[in-house]
Symmetry: C2
Subunit: 273 residues, 2 copies
Amino acid sequence: MANRTVFFVSDGTGITAETFGNAILAQFEIQPLHIRLPFIDTTEKAWQVVERINQTAEKEGSKPIVFTTLAKDELLEILSSNSQAVLLDMFSTFVKPLEIEFGIKSNHRIGRFSDISKSKAYHDRIEAINFSLAHDDGQKNSDLENSDVILVGVSRSGKTPTSLYLAMQYGLKASNYPLIPEDFDRQQLPTALIPHIKKIFGLSITAERLSEIRHERRPQSKYASLNNCQQEVAAAESMMKLYGIRWLSTTTKSIEEIATTIIQEIQPERLTY
Amino acid sequence: MANRTVFFVSDGTGITAETFGNAILAQFEIQPLHIRLPFIDTTEKAWQVVERINQTAEKEGSKPIVFTTLAKDELLEILSSNSQAVLLDMFSTFVKPLEIEFGIKSNHRIGRFSDISKSKAYHDRIEAINFSLAHDDGQKNSDLENSDVILVGVSRSGKTPTSLYLAMQYGLKASNYPLIPEDFDRQQLPTALIPHIKKIFGLSITAERLSEIRHERRPQSKYASLNNCQQEVAAAESMMKLYGIRWLSTTTKSIEEIATTIIQEIQPERLTY
């Protein structure tokens, strides 16, 4: 299976084609070579793609897999009629049944993100990224009330990547605030957070994993020692329980899974659910 | 078309189902209500989904559209046999033909991101996010040689969101460096950048759009004035030409489109292309 190339062909960025293709390929124990061919929006470019696919087919002695999201029938037709490939097309497979169900024609719009840069949703998303950056790691207390969610947890528990992902993927204004030894000594949340308790979500992690991660940053430090991590994690989890803060362990979760769980729990008003 | 609900049903985060569904729905001039139902991984939960879909169908008097990425046949079967819906299933539609082509069975793995948190690719991605944050806005000159790409451009031309997107989506270490009036006076790039000229990519923007964006931040400032923006943009573009730096205009592009174009141009070694 080593000699099998997968192409992602799109008239836009190819991100949809690749996301779609990767989800399908994850079902197989194979590691094919990926070739992304974005912005295929003319017949000339489509013919170049055909040539490239067919050269690959000849060289490898098997049909390349081609995931496409081409909206134009004309371009798709060039590929499907001329390439020696297993062609998996999202649009013709799923758009046609919906045209029938809706009783309207699709507009064959090219590219998932066309013209999106002018939309309010896009503007809000960029705003959310800027907000989350400004409110990373407890940098800024002002404007905390405009957060959609405030993540808390010990240093290196995954707050920053999760906040940025929530902003970038969902347009949520996600602040994050570290829980530090001073908070544990006082047995209180940072004062700035108290008025916003409903928006708070906690991230925890096993002490073992935390120690590993911290050792990469500051090898052999007290900060990274297993003993210190055990104390901090236990103190942070006690505090979350004390305040009734919902939380999850990030130890074996990706940021995508963490983000999805947070949204289910917090149900931010700005998302339709 | 107002009364038409779309469900995204997944045994994982639902991100793949939603990306896939949104790309399809973008082909129609409709704005249906979205309901995301992640982590549907037991027969009991599948039956709850059926009930919810059928209640919606009855209330709205039309079939809801259901995008699914359920890997387990058993769960998909519950939905397809019992729900009053237009069911669009990615997996059975595309995984089955690949099983035939590959001559192997799919592993019906649940969730695109399962176990990914332990993988090297995931680790590298988190590292890239941290790197990009540390190298945002010219904050840090050390370690610049480890950048996969260095974005330059005037303040508010889109460098920060693009850097973070490159890190989050592609695991690229993306630094960014502002071009400021002092650079234009000297007619030189910041000295720290000179050794890395091959990795540099420029972002520009029309002066009109830049002025709008800056006015949101600092209304009525000289910084935001159209005249100042015109001067900065012209000087930045001259400098890019002087150094032979590739660049694009971000004015009407989304961060996804900007990122895809940069990758095509720079062809970072760490991505297979």
